[in-house]
Symmetry: C2
Subunit: 238 residues, 2 copies
């Protein structure tokens, strides 16, 4: 298996992802949030680009819940922001959630031509790696990044997935760099993240609890997998 | 000083580089070659995008020499390919050389709005770092990359420059990752490079001697600096 890592979704030529399995990574916070919601029983997480699309889908089916953010803030009229801590079992079990997030949604759209799309974060590292290895197709690790730039938390998540995959995979240079950065810092990820931009933006917005939650490793076995409409829970990573 | 690292020139919004000092890095081989030619007495290295532009400039002044490559091969009718070993003192002293290279030239074009542009490679690491520190402006490390992807040798060169700059610089996430990769591998750069794509493409093309030459560290003090037409030798890095 080849493993290709993109540090930011704007750098992707969508046609290059055809026939591959793509992992979208937006660790702070979209993919952590969606993985958490599915772990807590949400029936499906649907990503949309525009806020109005979310309202339209809720109008068509009022049982749908709306979640998402713009510049780390909850969108007016939505049920949830983008904090994974909001998506409790009481709040989401059995419900479909429409998500509009700045970066994560764009990353999912960039992966549209992939054979399958899954969501990765620290919470489901091992499950995602197991799923990918079982599928056996070439792998794309698609980091959302932050405002067109490499974002360390996504890069480290990608590196952790590379590290968890078999040693005989063929790695692009970015995959090697991500893996080595993860191995260098895995015993103290906060030590490197505390010097990075997105982490500090979140701290300034009072999101320390979200950071702590997003940094939890292997809390579950759910692999969010795209079913053509949104992401549903898949247990093939077990 | 802020240090921003771009892993590939296609990812640059040229307007973001206005007012900054940009280091273009194409270690295998364009910036190593141009730095070497200036160290060996070339009067100026002019980069052009198209082969015909090079021939036109030579027609206007037949003392000009032509250098460059397409897909690692010398261009027909040119005086030199892109091997730094060709640009000896005997061959280039006092001469202006017109260079057309696949990636390096595009990277220089992407940096056009910068306050100043210099060329970086392993040969002039310390000189470039000294030059940047003296100028005191925000720094952009612009890696050429290979075919739209992160290329490890450029990333490590960028990391080495970050490592050589004062500790109080503010680093973007990519700058942190590049620096950490350099520090992790600095005692055995070949150990990580031998697993990378561009390195192996060069080996397959019989360019082991070029690789060995490009990996030499701090062989001189020339900082190639853009004078509006091309790159001339600057000794302000001493």
């Amino acid at each position: 298996m080849n493993i290709t890592t993109y540090i930011q979704h704007d750098f992707v030529n969508p046609a290059d992802l055809a026939g591959k399995q793509t992992v979208v990574i937006d660790t702070f916070r979209a993919t952590t949030t969606m993985t958490t919601a599915l772990q807590n029983g949400a029936s499906r997480m649907v990503t949309v680009m525009h806020v109005q699309d979310a309202f339209d889908l809720q109008k068509a089916d009022p049982t749908r819940l709306l979640g998402g953010e713009r510049n780390t803030q909850k969108i007016a009229g939505f049920d949830f922001g983008n904090s994974p801590l909001e998506y409790t079992r009481d709040a989401v079990q059995g419900r479909e959630v429409i998500m509009s997030t700045t970066n994560g949604t764009k990353a999912v759209a960039a992966a549209a031509q992939s054979e399958n799309i899954v969501l990765g974060c620290f919470h489901n590292l091992s499950a995602v790696a197991n799923y990918l290895a079982k599928q056996g197709k070439d792998i794309v690790l698609l980091c959302a990044g932050t405002v067109g730039k490499l974002s360390m938390e996504d890069f480290l998540t990608a590196g952790a997935i590379v590290d968890a995959l078999p040693d005989n995979c063929a790695l692009c240079d970015a995959s090697i760099a991500a893996r080595d950065m993860y191995r260098l810092h895995k015993n103290n990820l906060n030590g490197v993240l505390q010097h990075t931009k997105h982490y500090n933006t979140m701290l300034q917005n009072g999101l320390q609890h979200d950071i702590d939650f997003c940094m939890q490793v292997n809390t579950g076995t759910v692999v969010p997998i795209f079913d053509g409409i949104g992401f549903i829970s898949d247990k093939r990573g077990e």
